[in-house]
């Protein structure tokens, strides 16, 4: 086994080991934040699947996350077995996602994006109205997922590990989905739908599948949210959260699944850093950071890291290159990621403005 493959196995394992040890010495505050990172990474992974891999911009992911959170909180409050809560939290939004997507994906591009906004917009007043289920505008507090006695752990560590395990499983699952037939179909649908139909791939069906999976992940993330925050309220459903998730996704990058993890880190930590700089000017800092990152790595941080690593490896003398098994000219070997359409980081308007091809979508 050559070094590249060894690295591909060793690296994730190493990361996993580090992630497993961290909570043992970190403060509850840090563990809470990291658990939130995992939670939002799962939600944003779902968003990546529909908006990145399948190319359908969704501004409604917060609604699915919120529904999942409410399902989890409701289940906990009514004494459901935890597994049942999780299943409902993941499947209920998936069902809603599928139902909405079936008509919605007949629209394209901007129209679809604006239609997805409808979800968080009506979810908030609906959540407030059905207060019996949701706890109304003040939300629902739960008290659960305490660490079983005898493990020697504290609550925050235990919840961190739960999030870590569930998120890791979901990431693996996502990776498998995306590297298979579904992922390839997504890639074709994203690039050009007419071509897809010509190839016998039902663009409509795969877009619905993408939305359903995204909603499912969103719901699972909602379950994790209630696990970590122990509280569900309409504030999770709102439009602002959906927008922030999309921004975080673009920052993290569509290029590969790790983009969602970086997005989660961004989503959770930038407000914290902003608050440390000046608590009354957090959005100036936030907006500026997003712009700066986009300027430096318009394809997202994860894509930037991949390019950097590849560029570094390319500088190795030939004999080492053969040893590492890396061919800098080859494309990525893992799930078909969406590549940014621009060929470089310095687009000049005339030559690179994609006309009616990839940029403009039929209305």
């Amino acid at each position: 086994m050559n070094a590249a493959r060894a690295l591909k196995v060793a690296l994730p394992l190493g990361v996993l080991v580090v992630l497993a040890i961290v909570p043992l010495s970190a403060t509850p505050y840090t563990n809470y934040q990291l658990s939130l990172v995992g939670t939002f990474a799962v939600a944003i992974l779902g968003l990546n699947i529909v908006s990145g891999y399948a190319g359908q911009i969704s501004l409604g992911q917060s609604a699915f996350m919120g529904v999942g959170a409410y399902a989890a909180a409701f289940g906990v409050a009514h004494g459901w077995p935890v597994v049942l809560s999780f299943v409902v939290a993941a499947l209920l939004p998936a069902a809603i996602g599928a139902l909405v997507a079936i008509p919605a994906v007949r629209l394209r591009g901007n129209a679809l994006a604006v239609v997805t906004i409808i979800l968080p917009i009506i979810a908030v007043p609906l959540a407030k109205r059905y207060a019996g289920v949701t706890g109304g505008s003040e939300g629902r507090s739960v008290d659960w997922a305490h660490v079983p006695s005898g493990t020697g752990l504290e609550d925050d560590q235990w919840r961190y590990y739960l999030v870590l395990v569930i998120a890791a499983v979901l990431f693996l699952l996502g990776r498998n989905i995306l590297s298979g037939r579904i992922g390839r179909a997504f890639a074709i649908v994203r690039t050009n739908e007419a071509v897809a139909s010509a190839m016998g791939i039902s663009a409509h069906r795969y877009k619905v599948v993408a939305f359903t999976i995204a909603a499912c992940y969103g719901g699972a993330a909602g379950f994790l949210y209630v696990l970590v925050v122990q509280f569900a309220s309409p504030d999770l459903l709102n439009f602002q959260v959906a927008i922030n998730m999309l921004a975080a996704l673009v920052i993290g990058g569509f290029a590969n699944l790790w983009g969602a993890v970086i997005a989660g880190l961004f989503y959770v930590y930038v407000p914290v850093v902003a608050g440390a700089v000046d608590p009354s000017r957090t959005n100036i800092f936030y907006g500026a950071v997003v712009l700066v990152v986009l300027f430096i790595v318009p394809g997202g941080v994860s894509g930037g890291i991949v390019r950097l690593v590849r560029a570094l490896l390319a500088r190795l003398p030939d004999r080492y290159r053969r040893f590492t098994g890396v061919d800098p000219q080859a494309g990525p070997a893992s799930p078909v990621p969406p590549q940014p359409d621009a060929s470089g980081p310095e687009p000049t308007p005339p030559s690179l403005r994609a006309g009616a091809g990839s940029r403009k979508e039929p209305q």
């Binding site: 040890i21 970190a26 403060t27 509850p28 109304g136 608590p279 009354s280």
Partner: protein, 400 residues
């Protein structure tokens, strides 16, 4: 190796503070406290004003050398503000950050869902979460949440106060209600309805609005159909309160107006809404009206205005809204508790708070008593009705 790793977390988690020699965040000369408010986003105006009010009072006492605590030591207060953008997850993160940064207590935070998210954790970790700026009844049950206290009267109390005022008039009055679509609005409405039960006052029309609404024209138009005598505005968003006043008179509906305390600010509501077109405008209050030039001369009000200018100059004087005064007054209440605090522990703080019973807290109206000893009510439960006459508020006892 695992044991060694475990040793890194010494006393950061659920530390019990009962009987400890001293708790984190307090030394012989300083006290560290934190506050989480929406400093950005749609609720940034009340949030920033609240923090400014606290900063003004804390700056004032620090300039005088600090506070003499009940244990004899004089300490200065270090107040740190955190932004939660009205997001419950961030508010909880801020709380945990305060604990990690060894703050002694969380004080005066503004907001309801945000404080609700942090409340279970504060009580589990026995960290004081006190003088919260919210009228929600969720924060006044100290039997359930012994480490959490509110400060202002609840929205239920406000509504009840006005309901009693109306009922006491003995007149058959009809009321149209525009309420915020959340627990705040529900509580205001319930307080009113319960208090007028059995009297000649009837609620004949109801409508709701969202804080994010651009306009409430449609709601006002619907309410105007009822031609009610009283318009009960359970509104917390100043611009929408002003817009209600503008629209109602345009439609030819000129009821008497009740403004919730959150939106009774003249400069942002009554004046732009041309409030003088209405026969009467009332609000509930427990705070002096600093805009009244005579009242502004009173020593506590003059001191407040000066402190705002010195220690919280980010808020221009014309932009001072009620939240600044409430924050200042809540801070003063907190300092009263510190003055009764017999030991440098969190438990001692909670005990001290329960001893605070005063009617000379700065900015509170004469006749308003603050009694923080109750475990089932907010520290302030009394309110007065004030009427807007000739450009300023005056307290009134009965309806004319």
């Amino acid at each position: 190796m695992l044991l060694a790793a475990g040793c890194g977390r010494s006393n950061s988690s659920s530390s019990s503070s009962a009987g400890g020699s001293s708790d984190p965040g307090i030394t012989d000369t300083t006290l560290d406290i934190g506050q989480s408010d929406p400093l950005t986003g749609p609720t940034a105006a009340p949030g920033s004003c609240n923090l400014a009010g606290w900063q003004a009072y804390v700056g004032h006492v620090n300039a005088q050398g600090g506070v003499k605590f009940g244990d004899g030591k004089t300490r200065k207060i270090n107040l740190k503000g955190y932004d939660d953008g009205y997001d419950p997850a961030r508010a909880l993160a801020n709380f945990r950050q305060m604990v990690a940064e060894n703050k002694f207590a969380e004080v005066g935070s503004l907001g309801t869902p945000t404080n609700l998210a942090a409340m279970p954790q504060a009580n589990a970790q026995k960290v004081p979460q006190v003088m919260l700026s919210s009228g929600s009844t969720a924060f006044v049950n100290q039997t359930k949440n012994p480490w959490t206290t509110g400060w202002p009267p609840t929205y239920l109390d406000e509504g009840a106060n006005f309901g009693k005022f109306l009922a006491a008039s003995g007149k058959p009055l009809t009321v149209a209600v525009l309420a915020q679509n959340d627990q705040l609005g529900l509580d205001y409405t319930k307080g009113l309805e319960d208090a007028v039960q059995g009297s000649q006052v009837k609620v004949v029309a109801k409508a709701t609005y969202e804080p994010t609404d651009a306009t409430v024209d449609s709601q006002i138009s619907n309410l105007a159909q009822s031609k009610a005598d009283i318009f009960y505005a359970a509104i917390s968003v100043l611009k929408l309160a002003a817009a209600s006043l503008t629209k109602a008179q345009q439609l030819g509906w000129k009821p008497s107006i009740f403004l919730a305390s959150l939106s009774s600010n003249p400069a942002q509501v009554i004046v732009p809404g041309n409030g003088t077109a209405y026969p009467a405008i009332w609000s509930t209050t427990y705070i002096k009206d600093w805009r009244n030039p005579d009242v502004a001369k009173q020593s506590d009000v003059a001191q407040f205005l000066q402190d705002m200018q010195t220690y919280a100059s980010n808020i221009a004087q014309k932009d001072i809204i009620n939240n600044c005064l409430w924050g200042y007054s809540a801070a003063a209440t907190f300092v009263r508790a510190l003055q009764a605090m017999k030991a440098p522990t969190r438990q001692a703080l909670m005990d001290a708070i329960h001893t605070v019973k005063a009617n000379d807290i700065p900015l509170l109206l004469p006749g308003i008593t603050l009694d923080a000893s109750s475990k089932t009510t907010a520290p302030i439960t009394t309110l007065k009705i004030q009427q807007y006459i000739n450009g300023a508020y005056t307290t009134v006892d009965t309806m004319k």
